[in-house]
Amino acid sequence: MSISNVESPRVVSRGEWLEQRKALLAKEKEFTRLGDRLAAEKRNLPWVRVDKNYVFDGPERKETLAQLFGDKSQLLVYHFMFGPEWEQGCPTCSMAADNIDPNVIHLAHRDVNLVVVSRAPLAKINDFKKRMGWRFKWVSSFANDFNHDYGVSFKAEEMKGKFYNFDTSEFPAEEAPGLSVFYKDSAGNVFHTYTSYARGPEFLVGAYNYLDLVPKGRDEAGLPFTMAWVRHHDRYEE
């Protein structure tokens, strides 16, 4: 994204600024309403009943997908990139997790359980979670097909083609990020209602929401890849 305003700023009076700001506000309001309508469409998608019995390694015991709901009817799963052979979790998923962690208590009071799922074995997850100081529930899908079925882990032969984001994108690693939503009815049936990948869950990256509005924007043009500047929150050099 361009940082042209920084290179040659246009400086105006408060009155002129207000005129332009108001014109932009009308577009912002229109965009906010478009977002509301699209959010309603996401919720209006049909559901798919989950018939497979996924079992996860949880912090205290093995838990089924149905058990991950706790006493809630809605379950949010953040697919955190942390492969079985990896030394640590992905840095950009970690930045999203910094945003997720304090939200869990609020969501719990909206009939929502938020659980983070990775394919790394539980002991590895627990160590990394402790290092990062997070409190959310994080379970391992190492022993089941969950990550593969929900399109966030790939077999070697799948990494070459377009298998990510509903078969629209390639992903260069064995693990990819995503956000999935499940619903449990009063009879205990579990339904998959929604999943988004790639830039879909970008709202989780709270830092981008701010960077998009400061003069330099994301300022990633000269970097080898987007988010190349991100470190684990305990690994920035002063």
Partner: protein, 246 residues
Amino acid sequence: MTTQTPSIEDLSTHPVVTRDEWVEARKALLKKEKELTRQKDRLFAECRALPWVKVEKNYVFDTATGKRTLTDLFGDKSQLIIVHFMLGPEWEQGCIGCSFGADHYDGIVVHLEHHDVAFVVVSRAPLPKIDAFKKRMGWRFQWVSSQGSDFNYDYHVSFTDDAIAQGKVYYNYEVQPIDIDELAGTSMFYRDAAGDIFHTYSAYARGSELVGGAYGYLDHLPKGRNETGPGHNLGDWVRHHDRYGS
């Protein structure tokens, strides 16, 4: 932040389909999602392309290290984000909605600070009141007091007794019937190499949703925001994170 959240349909009658049918519907929606993401990119580019206004007034804040100017708040960064947090001089505690927002940004400030952004929260309450509430909430971000300065009034998030008595205040770029002395917003500033400071952007009301992302999760869930009253906004359900009870 009132929204037109639809009433929750009876979820027991929600259509259930096969995986293939779902993927078809999901892919159609994905096109619209991508379109909206691109529209967001264009909108934010327009935000950054707004002209700037030079800040001529010398604002002074009470901070943990004494009196500091707006320039000082940049530290060694060229970009400054100010969150206007509703905590008036006479208030017992900070606003619940602003606290909800703070839970979102507390953990990401360290990332912004490593991308040429200083991030400071400002309220009009005296500093000891701010410090006590910040401690209770366990937040780490820098929070300073603008008491005695025109800052909150100039950026239209605090209102004089006169304006409130008349029942008309200027907020979110229009005169509105409002009867509270503090409101919320987010402002952006830039400091150039010569040390001049410019105001580049401010968002208020639901504009802060664009930066805060507070509703991002709920908007994806079957029940949505589910704010059915009495306020039809986050006041219906949000509490301070230490006040939810069991």
